[in-house]
Symmetry: C2
Subunit: 340 residues, 2 copies
Amino acid sequence: MIAIEWLCDRLKIIDQSRLPHEEVYLELSGYQDIARAIRDMNIRGAPAIGVAAGYGTALGANAIKTTDMNQFQKELSEVIETLVSTRPTAVNLFRVAERMKKVAAFGKDVEEIKKALTDEAVKIHFEEEKATEKISHLGAELLNDGFGVLTHCNTGPLATAGHGTALGVIIYAHRQGKKLRVFVTETRPRCQGAKLTAWELKQAGVPFTLITDSMAGYFMKRGEIDCVIVGADRIAANGYTANKIGTYTLAVLANAHGIPFYVAAPTTTIDFSLISGYQIPIEERSPEEVTHIQGMRIAPEGTQAANPAFDITPSQYITAIITEKGIIKHPLGEGIGRVA
Amino acid sequence: MIAIEWLCDRLKIIDQSRLPHEEVYLELSGYQDIARAIRDMNIRGAPAIGVAAGYGTALGANAIKTTDMNQFQKELSEVIETLVSTRPTAVNLFRVAERMKKVAAFGKDVEEIKKALTDEAVKIHFEEEKATEKISHLGAELLNDGFGVLTHCNTGPLATAGHGTALGVIIYAHRQGKKLRVFVTETRPRCQGAKLTAWELKQAGVPFTLITDSMAGYFMKRGEIDCVIVGADRIAANGYTANKIGTYTLAVLANAHGIPFYVAAPTTTIDFSLISGYQIPIEERSPEEVTHIQGMRIAPEGTQAANPAFDITPSQYITAIITEKGIIKHPLGEGIGRVA
C-alpha cells in the first residue's frame, strides 16, 4: 500500500474515506482536486496533508499558463491559499505553504520556479518519510517487550506518507520482535482507529485489540496499559499539543494512573510561533459526523451535536515528545527550543 | 410513551433496540420471551430489567400447570433461574429473584402463590416508580439554574420503568424551570445516549447537545460542565459503583477538573452483600458491538475487539449517591449502611 505516490503530472492517493471496506486509489491532477481531497478527508493525517499540499502547490504552479512573473506569483498565491484553507488545525499545511512561498520568491523565471516548487514538494515528502522513520526507531526504544500500548486515531503510513508517527513506533517495535499488547481506540466520530489503524496493523501483522474510546480508563485501571502513544496535529512552543479529540481525555487518564503518555511527531508539526497551545484553532466539523456513523443515522432527527475535531493536551500531561531530532523531555518548552 | 405496561396476561414493552428509528411495542406472554427480551436488550436499564423480571416470574408462575407444591416450586425455580441468568451485572435482577422466592415460600397453595407473585411484581414496579420519582426530586436540588450537566448512557423512563434516575433528575430540574445545558455522551458501543437519551430528552422537550464519549474532557476543560450525573447497575456496600462502560473515565475526568460527580440510583441497585465494588461481575458482550455499529461493519474483517459492558467507579470519585431514601454523602460506606 502506498498512501501518496507522485506521478509527476498527478498525485495518486489511496482514498482513506473508503477504507477499510474498499481499497480505491484516486489520481488527482489539479490543485483543486487535492484541496477537495484534503477537505473531504480522502487524505488525512497532519504530515500526509502537508505532503499532499506540497504536491498540490507544484501541480497548481505547473498548470499556470503565464510566463509573466507578477501574474504567476498572483496565481500561485491563489493556489497556495486554496490548499491552506482546507483545514485549520494541523500546522503542516501552513509550514508547507511557507516553504513553497519562499522557494517561489527566489526563482529567476516562471519555468525555474515551477521546477523548484516540484523539487521542493518531493523534498518535503522525502523529509517526512525520513523523519517518521527516525521517529519510529527512537520511539521504539521506549516500548519494552510485553508492554500494553494504547494508541488513538490513526498515525500510520496513511497519516504521514511515510513510516507513521505513533503507529510507526508500534509497528517498528513489533518488527524488532517485541511482543506488544496493542489497544486501539475506535476514535469516534470518524472511527479512524477502527477503520484505518486496524487496517494498517492488520497489514503489518501486528495483533491488536479494538476498544471504544470509553474503555480506555477501564483497561488502564486493570493495569493492562503500560504507555499511551499518540500523534499530533500541532504542537505549540510550550509543548501543548493539539491532536484528535479524545487525546486530552486519554492524557488525564494516563496521568491519574501513573502511565507514561508520549506524543510522536515530526518537528514540522511544531508551531514555534505559538506560545500557548490554547492559541491553536480547533476545527469544528459537521454535527452529522456525531449524529450519524458511516452515513447512517444513529440519533433522532433534530438532534443537536457538537463536533470539535481536536483538543489540546497541556504539557504537564505529556511525558515526552518523540521527534526525528530526538526525544524531548521536561521541561518541554526548553526541549522544543533546542529543535527549533 | 410507556416503557413497560402490565396487561395481566402479558407484558407490553417498547422495543428499545429499535429506538429512535421505530417505535415498536412488543407483547410478551411467556417468561422465556421476557428473558430473551432482557438478554437481547429489547428492554434494558437496571431498574427496568428488574421490573420486567418480576413480571416474567409472575407470567412464568401462572403458566405452570401443576397444583403440586413441590413440582410448582421446582418449575418456578427454573423460571427464576432463566430470568436471572440473562445478564450478570445489574443487581436488580437478583434482588427481584430473592423477593419472588421469598413470596413463593409463604403461600399455602399454588393458586395463592401465583396471585402473590403477581401482586409482588406489580408492587416492585410501583416501588421503582415511586423511588425514581423521589430521586428526580431530590437530585434536582443539586442542579442550579444555568448548570452544564453531563450524563452518560440512558437512565430515563425507558431504563427504569418509572421517572428515570440520572435522566429523571435532569428532566425534573428542567420542569422546575431551570435552564440547563445538557450534554449527552453517545455511549458507545450500543449508543444508548445517542439513541435513547436523545429520544427521551426530545420527548420531554429538554434541549441537549450530543457529544462523543471522547469529547467529555474537552468540554470539562472549557468549563462547560458543572456536574456529571449518571445511573448505576450495581453499587457495592463501599459505594463503588458499576455502571455503563465509560463511567469510570468520566469520574476520573470530573475529579481532575474539580467537578461534582453524582450517581442516581434506587436503593434496589445497592448490593449490600458485596464489600467491594471489584467483586461485581462485569458482563463481556459480543465484540461485534464494537467492530460494527447498528449492524454495519466499521473495522476490517478479523479485527479482535474487547467489549466490557460496565466499569467500576471507586467511591472517592463519587461526590454523592442520590437515592429515594436521601442523598448519601461521604463516607459513602456509612451512608449506605444507613439506608440498608
